[in-house]
């Protein structure tokens, strides 16, 4: 079943068309890789999907509903979650509070907020899944860079989204951390669809069931990792072949 679909999706910044008439489909349950050279429009594209920025033209459908005009916070409510490319956590709160913020909207049924024990349990569970349970009480701003990236992922997890979009999550991680991350994404994909922007080819090839290649705002190619590896246009444009 198609979870997300765009038609003619475009975004211009002044004279520059960062995303240019993209038609894109994402099936429920897959892990989709989104790759492309720097400045190809990947971040802009997922920002359009998440509602952070408005499209100049085109439509977005999510789970059968047209969400093009829906404000960002309502899209999150529908199950579209986004983790920022630039680490964007609440530095002066504890790691636990960061994750609680991500979880409490979903668990709350009134302005009074959710049951505090359930919230705590949900937040700790998300932290445990990324391996940060021991750091729960520390200020997020004092975590190492790699741990901050993982905290971002934990926040994404705690939202229990239907679609999780990860924008270059392994940027700046050590090899060891990357290996752990691959396992983590596999786990996430058991309950959610994942759209993964990734520069590290090994990670994409290993995780993605299909890959979409973006170049200058347009889709250059789409296919299985093996197909993408063989595609000559992709090699020319991106893999430096």
């Amino acid at each position: 079943m198609t979870l997300l679909e765009t038609e003619g999706l475009s975004r211009r910044f002044g004279g520059l068309t960062a995303v240019d008439g993209v038609a894109f489909q994402l099936a429920e349950g897959e892990i989709r890789g989104l790759i492309g050279p720097n400045g190809a429009g990947k971040t802009t594209f997922v920002s359009l999907l998440s509602g952070r920025i408005r499209p100049s033209a085109g439509r977005i459908r999510f789970a059968g509903e047209d969400v093009t005009m829906l404000p960002a916070h309502k899209r999150v409510g529908r199950g579209i979650a986004y983790t920022f490319q630039i680490t964007s956590i609440f530095a002066r709160m504890t790691a636990l509070d960061n994750v609680k913020l991500a979880a409490q909207r979903r668990l709350a049924h009134s302005w009074a907020g959710p049951d505090s024990e359930r919230l705590e349990a949900a937040a700790m569970d998300a932290l445990a899944r990324v391996g940060l349970a021991a750091r729960a009480g520390g200020l997020a701003g004092t975590l190492s860079y790699g741990h901050q990236r993982l905290l971002e992922v934990a926040m994404g997890l705690a939202m229990a989204p239907r679609l999780l979009m990860l924008d270059e999550p392994t940027q700046g991680l050590s090899d060891e951390e990357i290996a752990g991350f691959v396992g983590l994404v596999r786990g996430i994909a058991r309950d959610a669809t994942v759209l993964l922007i990734e520069h590290n080819m090994r990670v994409v090839m290993e995780l993605a069931s299909r890959i979409t290649v973006l170049e200058r705002g347009r889709i250059l190619a789409e296919g299985t990792p093996a197909e993408i590896r063989r595609d000559e246009a992709v090699q020319r444009a991106y893999l430096g072949g």
Binding site: P71, H73, I89, F90, K100, L101, G113, L119
Partner: protein, 316 residues
């Protein structure tokens, strides 16, 4: 860890009103009335702290919400003979409604624009008090007669009742702030203060949260205004002037923004600073001005904010 912090915090917030309750039996008359005034003004500051401290919105117009409470209670008593209790409730509603209306417009802006927009709305409200000077008596103001200032049959002009009512108001606002600081609602406000964009992308309607915070802040400020009118019996436009938008900012800055007891501490300190200085000089505006400059320059976290950072991380 968290549970211990919560207990200590709750105990501290109970201890302060208890101490203030005990003080009334030993204080000399002069400080007795001063402290009642400080408690009312500190409630105003606590209301201001909800938007400035917890939500990170620097309003320069809170005098209009204090004034909304002051004039709702004062005018209703003066011209319609409305008693203190219903006047008080209506004043709170008026403050919340006024703040919500201002918020619907002002919250479309942020940063410096928000400061100027709130300043301008408050100035327009202040000028409106002059425009309707026939009823409000402008800067000269009017005195609410003692016989109209009664709460549940008790005379509010009586020092003991006055002190006790001020204490009740103060304890109430303290409870509200304690609840906000501890609640998941308060956590979202703090998140908005830290990083608005990220908060939105966690699925929160940032505008709605800010609006609720502002309305709550307006309600608390108006409650303080109404209490001022009823306890001290004076209503004048000076109490809704720009000065009274700057004061809560100063008090909260001094005591510590986003701390529950900071507004009280700041109000108390500034009140007695000005009071002591007035023994030597009438130039109290020097103090206010220098305190503002010194605080933003050297001490932006205030007393309790600094204390929390250095020694007492559990302080709410």
């Amino acid at each position: 860890m968290t549970a211990g912090g919560l207990d200590r915090a709750a105990l501290l917030h109970l201890a302060v009103p208890a101490l203030l309750f005990a003080l009334q039996f030993v204080l000399p008359d002069y400080h007795h009335v001063n402290l009642a005034r400080v408690m009312v003004l500190a409630s105003f500051a606590a209301g201001y702290n909800i938007v400035f401290g917890y939500t990170g919105l620097l309003s320069l117009g809170h005098a209009m919400f204090f004034g909304a409470g002051l004039y709702t209670a004062g005018l209703l008593a003066q011209y319609a003979g409305v008693a203190a209790a219903p006047g008080f409730v209506l004043a709170i509603l008026a403050g919340a409604l006024f703040a919500a209306l201002v918020g619907i417009l002002a919250l479309r802006t942020s940063g410096v624009s928000f400061m100027i927009v709130t300043l301008m709305f408050a100035q327009a409200a202040y000028l409106a008090l002059h425009y309707f000077g026939d009823y409000t008596r402008s800067d000269e103001g009017f005195v609410v007669p003692a016989e109209l200032r009664r709460l549940f049959g008790l005379a509010l002009a009586d020092p003991a009742t006055r002190y006790f009512t001020a204490l009740a108001l103060f304890t109430g606002t303290l409870a509200v702030c304690h609840a906000v600081a501890r609640s998941s609602f308060g956590r979202v406000l703090a998140a908005i203060r830290e990083n608005e964009e990220r908060t939105r992308m966690l699925g929160y309607d940032v505008f709605a949260y800010k609006l609720v915070a502002l309305a709550l802040s307006g309600a608390v400020s108006a409650a303080a205004g109404a209490a001022y009118a009823m306890l001290f019996g004076y209503v004048g436009a000076g109490l809704a002037s720009i000065q009274y938008s700057i004061y809560p900012l100063l008090w909260v800055l001094m005591g510590g923004a986003a701390t529950v007891l900071g507004p009280f501490l700041g109000t108390l300190a500034m009140f007695y600073l000005v009071d002591t200085a007035s023994g030597f000089t009438s130039a109290y505006l020097f103090l206010v001005g220098l305190a503002l400059i010194a605080l933003v320059l050297f001490f932006p976290k205030g007393v309790l904010g600094t204390l929390r950072e250095r020694a007492l991380p559990w302080l709410p």
